[in-house]
């Protein structure tokens, strides 16, 4: 929050008096509100200006609409694809794959991080493998997943492969950052390893876990789209690749726009979940 622009000569009064906010404070609040409204309006204005410029440029022939398409064409092809039922089906496929990918890689990553926390020996032994797997471009594994898992399940393979390693490393790092002395306190009460895990390690790493989840959403989407590029017969990634092959720029761009909306929706969902988890566990502030 920016500092209030008005100065009081008296020391700041502690709680607000029962008479309600002072006129100065009310003016400050109104200014804040105006500012927020302006920011939102400007955001939409930027988008509108971009679309308008695009439309005009394509209409006047400044740019080749064969290559760039244009907003009005996108809109009609969006409605067309929607009516055919194609768009919903493909969007749903991608959404489901992403959600499953996120859940699986978060669960798997957390479990593996717990194993590493539990056994220092295991974590030391496996450390170089994790480093190598992290550095390896997971896309290179695409053909393997396709051959092993088939065109549908290879998507999940790719999604999890891309996001799980980072998840393990972030969650494990979070575990390590929890103060030694919180665990010493637990030890002084004679806590077992399981009790330390459930009473301190897991609850204390909720904020870190949420941060990991946010990173995971982005990575899993990359994995899903990558997987669909390589092998799938459905999903937004498939639509994009297919549209490119038959030179249907409308299809490509509509799919990309939907993908952008999907990622915003997922990110919003994760934010809500995170805020709820933090509030529930008193991590706010």
């Amino acid at each position: 929050m920016p500092v209030q622009p008005f100065r009081h000569s008296a020391p700041a009064p502690q709680p607000a008096p029962a008479t309600g906010p002072s006129p100065l404070y009310r003016r400050y609040l109104a200014a804040q509100r105006r500012r927020r409204t302006w920011i939102w309006l400007s955001r939409f204005a930027v988008l509108a200006a971009f679309l308008l410029l695009w439309e005009i440029a394509a209409g006047r022939g400044w740019i080749d609409s064969m290559l760039t398409s244009k907003p009005s064409l996108l809109w009609s092809s969006f409605r067309e694809m929607l009516l055919e039922g194609k768009l919903l089906k493909h969007t749903w496929t991608t959404t489901l794959e992403t959600l499953v990918g996120i859940v699986v890689s978060m669960a798997l990553g957390t479990v593996i991080a717990v194993v590493f926390w539990w056994s220092t020996f295991a974590s030391k032994v496996l450390e170089p493998y994790v480093v190598v797997l992290n550095a390896l471009p997971k896309v290179a594994l695409g053909p393997i997943f396709y051959i092993w898992l088939g065109d549908r399940y290879s998507i999940y393979g790719m999604a999890v492969a891309i996001s799980v390693i980072v998840t393990i490393m972030m969650v494990e790092n979070g575990f390590r950052e929890i103060g030694r002395s919180k665990l010493k306190l637990m030890e002084s009460f004679g806590a077992t390893r399981t009790q330390m895990l459930t009473m301190v390690i897991l609850p204390a790493s909720i904020p870190n876990w949420i941060a990991t989840l946010k990173v995971n959403v982005g990575l899993t989407l990359v994995g899903v789209i990558m997987g669909e590029f390589l092998s799938s017969k459905a999903g937004l990634g498939y639509l994009i690749i297919y549209g490119g092959q038959v030179f249907q720029m409308n299809m490509v761009m509509v799919s990309i726009a939907i993908l952008a909306l999907l990622s915003i929706a997922l990110y919003g969902l994760v934010n809500l979940l995170g805020a709820w988890l933090k509030r529930k566990n008193h991590f706010e502030g």
Binding site: L185, M186, S188, G285
Partner: protein
């Protein structure tokens, strides 16, 4: 009979780089209900001594006995209070106070009742459902003490419990904690680097030397008949200065040899 006894205890830490001899040949004996302070130069292994009594560390040689039995691991008989309160922010005050009881799998209802009674008795009655972040530093440390008391230890180990607090809170809390411990009739071992705190709270002050540490002196603190009471009152009494300058000089001697 001595409640806590150490017989010729030594402890060394090992790391791949080096071996550090922290304690050498420590012998002491603490009676039931006694309040002992331990002072010494920083890094002399005062906290290590507490970890040995609590059973979190095993001596390299020598024996640590509580009520005549050798210490093997942590026991419900010993409560530990750390420098920081380490209240869990994801739990409210009451459930923080119950952490120890939960770990020790004590009867839930009984522990609840005891926790609420202790909170009430020591001025935190209205705060059971507050979150720790809503409490002041002094209140948080009192909650930490109650968390230890709920598990009903006979012995309390206090590892610089006031050092993270501001001066005023510290003096006040020293009074309160001293009152609570005497009120509950516990044996207490306080580790501190604050000489005033050591003198005014304890029945005996032990001075430790630099590493490898031994106990270099033990002072019986007597304020004479009539002067009983809070640490604060003792600061005003005549013998206080004498004790202070004696212990100060001893610590200076240890510090001097370090340069």
């Amino acid at each position: 009979m001595a409640q806590i006894e150490m017989r010729d205890v030594s402890l060394s830490y090992f790391t791949p780089r080096q071996e550090t001899e922290a304690l050498r040949g420590i012998s002491l004996s603490i009676d039931n209900g006694e309040f002992i302070s331990i002072v010494g130069p920083s890094g002399c292994g005062k906290s290590t001594l507490l970890s040995l009594i609590s059973g979190m560390l095993k001596p390299t040689s020598g024996r640590v006995l509580i009520d005549g039995r050798e210490v093997a691991g942590t026991s419900p008989q010993v409560g530990y209070m750390l420098q920081h309160d380490h209240l869990f922010e994801w739990r409210d005050v009451l459930s923080n106070v119950l952490v120890g009881a939960q770990i020790r799998k004590m009867d839930r209802r009984e522990a609840d009742r005891k926790a609420l009674a202790l909170l009430e008795r020591y001025g935190l009655g209205g705060f059971a459902r507050h979150s720790p972040s809503q409490l002041s530093g002094g209140m948080r440390q009192r909650v930490a003490l109650i968390r230890t008391l709920v598990t009903e230890p006979d012995i309390l180990l206090l590892d610089e419990p006031f050092s993270a607090l501001d001066y005023q809170t510290r003096l006040q809390l020293a009074d309160e904690v001293h009152g609570i411990i005497k009120d509950q009739g516990k044996t207490a071992v306080l580790v501190t680097h604050d000489i005033s705190e050591a003198i005014t709270m304890a029945d005996r002050v032990m001075v430790m030397s630099r590493r490898p540490s031994t106990i270099s002196a033990v002072h019986d603190i007597r304020f004479g008949e009539g002067v009983i009471g809070s640490p604060w009152a003792k600061r005003e009494a005549a013998p206080y200065r004498q004790y202070f300058s004696t212990i100060w000089k001893e610590l200076q001697a240890h510090a001097g040899s370090a340069v």
